[in-house]
Symmetry: C2
Subunit: 304 residues, 2 copies
């Protein structure tokens, strides 16, 4: 069960009633954050979630509206008596940028662990999250993120019997344990059927629409995508500034065949995103205009 909260929906600058775009998820007590603009910590509190349990912070890129709130967040996590390390993930330059910003947060009661990514796609497994970072197309190096919560196969009695596994080991193997016996090694794959569909969320901001995004978002339960401009007339501006229109995001969602699309990262000039949604839904029906703290609980699909 993955809890997802879109903490803000603004691009460029925070506005009254519109925080900067950022995503927070919670999975088995471990929270993950994507981007942390000025004011992100306020939105977390507004949602009623805690800054204490943020174990992983991913950055798409280092424009101010995506990282300006980091020093304040780290200070607040310190004030909340966090002592466990925090893993920071982002494109090259991560250490340089974060260490510069830490001029105002030099002393923290927890360590920072840096993971700089540079490939076209990188996969990081941490705290139950399988994080796919994938390079997108902005005017600086920028990454999107797919978060997967994997689901093991169903327990398969026939398989266990066929592999001659004693019943006393079944429960431990089902939970993923590997058991060393004097004569052989027992693994969970000996008692489990094929992997089942897990949970998938794909997130991308500050990019032109590219085929990689469609591939990454394929069949996602939730696709959160930037929509800098609602007005079709701003197509040229979107190209120039390497952003997207709502319509472009909708076509990505349609081609990736996702369950639902949330738009975010609105231009400050875009006062009422809702007014463009009818047109967007003609392209992709299950599209929503993201709002600050729009949330969803994603569960493993029910089985017959």
């Amino acid at each position: 069960m993955l809890e997802v909260c879109l903490l803000g929906t603004g691009g460029m600058m925070p506005l009254p009633g519109r925080c900067l775009t950022s995503l927070m998820t919670r999975l088995n007590g471990s929270s993950l954050l994507i981007d942390c603009g000025e004011g992100t910590q306020v939105s977390i509190r507004e949602k009623g979630w805690s800054v204490h349990d943020i174990d992983i912070i991913c950055f798409t890129h280092y424009h101010g509206d995506h990282i300006g709130g980091l020093p304040g967040l780290l200070l607040s996590m310190g004030n909340a008596d966090r002592t466990k390390p925090v893993v920071l993930i982002g494109p090259k330059g991560l250490i340089r940028v974060v260490e510069a910003l830490r001029i105002i947060a030099p002393e923290l009661p927890f360590a920072l662990e840096f993971m700089e990514i540079s490939g076209k796609e990188e996969v990081i497994r941490k705290n139950g999250y399988v994080i796919h970072a994938f390079r997108v197309s902005h005017n600086v190096t920028c990454y999107g993120y797919t978060l997967l919560v994997e689901r093991t196969g169903r327990f398969d009695v026939e398989r266990a019997k066929k592999n001659q596994i004693e019943m006393k080991y079944w429960n431990r193997l089902q939970k993923g344990e590997t058991i060393e016996l004097p004569d052989r090694t027992l693994t969970s794959s000996m008692v489990l059927g094929p992997k089942r569909k897990g949970i998938k969320v794909t997130y991308c901001t500050d990019t032109r629409p590219i085929i990689t995004i469609e591939e990454q978002a394929k069949e996602a339960d939730l696709f959160i995508c930037e929509g800098m401009y609602g007005e079709k007339e701003k197509q040229q501006k979107a190209v120039e500034y390497k952003h997207m229109t709502f319509q472009e995001a909708a076509y990505l969602a349609k081609n990736a065949n996702v369950q639902q699309l949330w738009l975010t990262h609105y231009s400050p000039s875009l006062v009422c995103p809702e007014q463009y949604m009818e047109e967007v839904r003609q392209i992709f029906p299950n599209a929503k205009a993201g709002k600050d703290r729009k949330s969803i609980l994603l569960e493993f699909p029910k089985e017959e």
Copy 2:
């Protein structure tokens, strides 16, 4: 006429509904800001004031809650097409701290002019503001600020005549001009009576109560002072962390004989500042618990 807005009242961290402590003033189209924590630019917008005309930014010190919002503010001022230089004033370290934070705001369409202060008291005249920076007592070097709007003397016909000033020069001299004649130099002091009372605002946060503050705030129209703790029982904590209780701030106001006191920079643990105000008003009657965007218009005193 000086417009004053207390943009926020929080200490340590921004909270929903409580921005970090910061002051903004407007005088003849020129805005001045004291401190700029995370979210300050949002509060400016909430107030309906513009970031474009901020000509001067003073910093008390460089703890994150007093400067974390600077890069975002500068970026937004750039987006608002500001091109005039901005003067930054603060204790030593100003250039080092601001340049580090500018890793996320490297390109701005206006220049930054730095004025590092190091004396016990320094006076800076700029855009009609007379700014007195005075060192206070925190766990790092920290300054308070007194803002004066001076008022010249009344035009004195007798004096002008006595100084044999021709009438055609009266208006220019009254406006402060100095006029070079072939045989002598005419100054405004030749036609004006003694200086009249101007407008005075004294602001200090992050300090123990010290005599300097009383001296600085003497007869101020408005004294804005930190009150980290409302509870008397937190006196020891105030001493330890180099902050003040409401009561201590009230005694400063009383001894300085100010017109009114606004408290600010509340601890996040202080949920309802108002509940301690009755006791505070027994010490200094015209004390108010500051609220986000509490504002006042200060005018030169009316004369008989």
